[in-house]
Amino acid sequence: MADFTLRIRRYDPESGEAPYWDEHTIDLEPHRSVLEGILQAKARFDGSIGIRCSCRAAICGSCGVRINGQPGLACHTHLDKALKGAKDGIIEVEPMGNMPIIKDLIVDMDAVHWKKVQRVTPWLINKLPVPEREYIVPHENMVDVTQSMACIQCGACVSDCLSMEVDPLFIGPAALAKAYRFAGDPRDAQQEERIRDLAEDPHGIYDCTHCFKCIEACPKGVAPMSQIMRLRRIATRTHHIVDRNNGERHESAFVTLVKDHGLLWEAELLPRSHGGDSFFGKFMPKAALELVDSLPVIAKGLLRRKVTLGKSILPPKDLPKDARAEITSIFEKVDDRGELRELNLYISGYDEDLEGAETPSASAAAGAQGQTSAESGQPGMTPEESPTR
């Protein structure tokens, strides 16, 4: 047993008072959860502390909060680990962000999260005819969508989504992961309609800034951002959707620039995003407009030395020969692979059986998995997941 002090953000909507901090010292084994700490404080000292909770085992998704500023489930965070992240030896627990607070640690998920889920037509639209028995579908596809099915709708990813902070209308990580659950389901009849809808929506799949926050926040390894990237890949590769948000062209600008130069050429990015990979693209009126729009940002970047004039305007310097060759071979390898094999939590390159096998997909899996493993609970990125926007 050890003593831990919790500093809990309190808010009583009936009091007319502003939110305040409330401290309680609880006594639990270090590997017990922050939720158990809060429940002890509630049981012993103050039954009025508000927090939603039910299963205690990271399955029901009720107890999403911020602990020391990081979103997650209170039941899924050990006290000793939380203490390590504490600024002053006191574990801080706050309600999640991006959603209105109802009381103490309880936020209004209906107003934000569930509204967005409802936005993505969150039910299967059956391919017809519906078979008498089950649909016969590939094993891999079902395992694949099971990753987004593993989402428990806790809202941790919504809480700290940076895009949503800037654009509250952004459909957001949880709802888009839910969208992939249908778009990736071979039994669904409307993959193209769904994807087109999400690509054309100015607050849809191209609104994600690829910041990884949601992947970090997710307690279930759903990796919402990876699901968003999958939606983008289906949009561009499978359905060739050229969207009005310029998402498709922007993404392809990245790819062609790296393919041509080995490195990104910032000055070319904007024209190519509008006019495509051609000389005349530079003269697209829209590109000029956006260039003018972006001038203050560019100026700021230069002033703060985030970019240098040389790097951003001139074409990238030549890479050593073998580096160029390697980049080219990556492109060739990816292009050769007709079918895109996606990795996820359940289909991982982690297992020895897979690593030992000499199939292209397995070796790609092992390589791409890199930073991930079952320990981290985070699925890997595929090679195609280059940063865009």
């Binding site: 012993r44 205690r56 089950e134 079952a374």
Partner: protein, 565 residues
């Protein structure tokens, strides 16, 4: 006053399935739950759902396994219905989008489960309950125009009219504190079990027996309440569930000598005997000094014998649970488990349409109910099936019944009474005990005396304690005086529910003087079909102590026989 043909209280699998079925049958429907539907405890069901969908399987085989698992206390007419309708129900789930695991041919894959004579458990990794629950909720979102959802509403009472029919309920909007009377032609209880009467339990904090107690309160009979399932594999650390799917995939149970001790208890089925048998075996090993761990209080569950790839793909959730809650990598080393409270076979007595005898208009489905398809012991992966089959049947029946009757008239007497009750709880002086203390004592006592092994003396001790706690609960105080999300006052009401349910459990356990299924009396260690092949019903009138009566077990084609695994 909201008014519907069918009112469903509880939004787990049984409640959501009932809502969809009733709406499809043309009824106006309200579904009301004290938590958001996807937080319901059905979400924690891991291993799968049983159905004889394999071409070489027959529903009769599934039914026989269920009857045998129930130690012949299950009603065979109900079991036949459940098992016959199972394949259709599972196909329906598949069609609305459940991502069932496929085999290499792309057909639904099946895994082995306890007490089953062949592989017949369909699954989604080890998040089957979650997958089904979320898919049903997708359907509720799809049908948002025909099903009114009241999420985070807490039911305080059921309402009976002068003729004794159930005509709705009173509930509190947790977000605002507003109280409301819901009027309905039919009311379906679907609030799940009462695991929180025990500590530890695999059950969520919301499983406080609300529906069982509310029905009991208005005079409905409870049945098989003594039948409490202890799951063989719960974490020693904190009582969390490790799915039976682990043993279904081939994991072993080992004692301190490294012996697969199930050889002694169930030489044929080994780890896949029925849960009551495996739990008793594990508890015996612990009691006789062959337990594992620092204080010998556990059993080793060895999942390392299952190929790692298979574990990562099909048992992902328990990999996480092992890592997060016990600090163990189950793919590399055994994990310490022991039997722990998991499920209540008993509940509100119903017929095969979910109707509660003696209370027209009242239905119950799922863990809150006792049809009885589980009898003395539920087979793993039959609970999801029970919720869906009888949830659907209740919804359909209630919808049809509603077509034949006018809307009932309901006054606001109960509303006033409930408002006054809540006000009085909030106003209690800080003199008695804390709610949390009473709940802790209840759980500890129940888990000590009303567990895997029971006897007269222990049960009598539990009985005395529960009655004392009921007295103490009348004056127990709370801290929260507010209206918005006052979880404290709801906790006080839930405590009352738990105490009522616990009393019924203890009384029924004392009553059954034999050992059958989950009820093992060390003072009556044999099954006694001559005297006890019958259900124990518990009911009450007003504040009187529980009344015991008996009802016969329905036997169709399987005569009781000695049970061997």
């Amino acid at each position: 006053m909201p008014e519907h043909d069918v009112l469903i209280i509880g939004a787990g699998l049984a409640g959501q399935r009932a809502a969809l079925a009733a709406a499809e049958a043309g009824a106006t429907v309200a579904i009301l739950s004290k938590v958001h539907p996807v937080r319901s405890h059905s979400v924690a069901a891991a291993g799968g759902i049983n159905a004889a969908i394999s071409l070489d399987d027959r529903w009769e085989s599934h039914a026989y396994d269920t009857v045998k698992g129930s130690d012949f206390l299950g009603d065979q007419d109900a079991i036949e219905i459940m098992c016959r309708e199972a394949p259709g129900e599972v196909m329906h789930l598949e069609h609305i989008g459940v991502t069932f695991h496929r085999n290499e041919k792309g057909e639904m894959d099946l895994r082995a489960f306890g007490g089953a004579s062949m592989k017949r458990t369909a699954y989604v990794a080890d998040i089957t309950g979650q997958a089904i629950l979320h898919v049903l909720y997708e359907q509720l979102m799809k049908h948002h125009e025909t099903v009114d959802r009241y999420e985070e509403w807490f039911t305080t009472s059921l309402i009976r009219d002068e003729e004794g029919a159930c005509v709705g309920c009173v509930a509190r909007n947790i977000r605002t504190g507003e109280m409301e009377t819901f009027r309905a032609k039919g009311t379906i209880l679907a609030q799940g079990g009462a695991g929180q009467c025990f500590k530890p339990t695999t059950n969520a904090l919301i499983c406080t027996g609300d529906g069982i107690a509310q029905a009991y309160e208005i005079g409905a009979p409870l049945m098989d309440m003594e039948m409490i399932q202890y799951h063989p594999t719960t974490l020693v650390e904190n009582g969390f569930l490790i799915t039976e799917g682990a043993r279904g995939e081939g994991a072993h149970l080992l004692n301190a000598d490294g012996e697969r001790f199930m050889e002694k208890y169930a030489p044929n089925k080994m780890e896949l005997a029925s849960r009551d048998v495996v739990s008793r075996a594990g508890q015996t090993e612990i009691n006789e000094g062959r337990g594992v761990g620092p204080d010998g209080s556990g059993i080793a569950l060895d999942i390392t014998v299952v190929p790692k790839k298979r574990v990562l793909e099909a048992l992902r959730e328990i990999v996480n649970i092992g890592k997060d809650f016990a600090g163990v990598d189950i793919t590399a080393e055994p994990i310490l488990i022991r039997p722990g409270q998991h499920y209540i076979m008993g509940g509100v007595k119903t017929d095969v349409h979910g109707q509660v005898p003696g209370v027209p208009g009242l239905y119950a489905a799922g863990e809150v109910a006792c049809v009885s398809v589980h009898g003395g012991n539920r087979l793993g992966a039959n609970s999801l099936l029970d919720t869906l089959i009888f949830g659907r049947r209740s919804g359909e029946h209630a919808a049809e019944r509603a077509k034949t009757m006018p809307a009932p008239s309901v006054g606001n007497d109960q509303l006033k009474a409930d408002v006054a009750r809540i006000d009085s709880i909030i106003a209690r002086p800080r003199e008695g005990r804390r709610i949390s203390e009473i709940k802790d004592e209840l759980g500890t006592v129940m888990n000590r005396y009303v567990a895997v092994f029971r006897d007269e003396a222990g049960l009598a001790q539990a009985h005395d304690t529960v009655r004392r706690l009921k007295e103490e609960a009348r004056t127990a105080y709370i801290d929260d005086r507010g209206t918005v999300f006052n979880q404290d006052v709801l906790g006080a009401i839930e405590l009352g529910y738990m105490l009522d349910v616990a009393e019924a459990i203890v009384v029924a356990s004392l009553e059954r003087k034999e050992s059958r299924g989950a009820q093992f009396r060390t003072d009556f260690p044999e099954r006694n079909d001559d005297e006890w092949l019958k259900h124990i019903d518990i009911s009450r009138n007003g504040d009187a102590t529980p009344q015991v009566s008996y009802s016969p077990v329905t036997i169709t084609q399987w005569q009781p026989e000695e049970r061997k695994y």
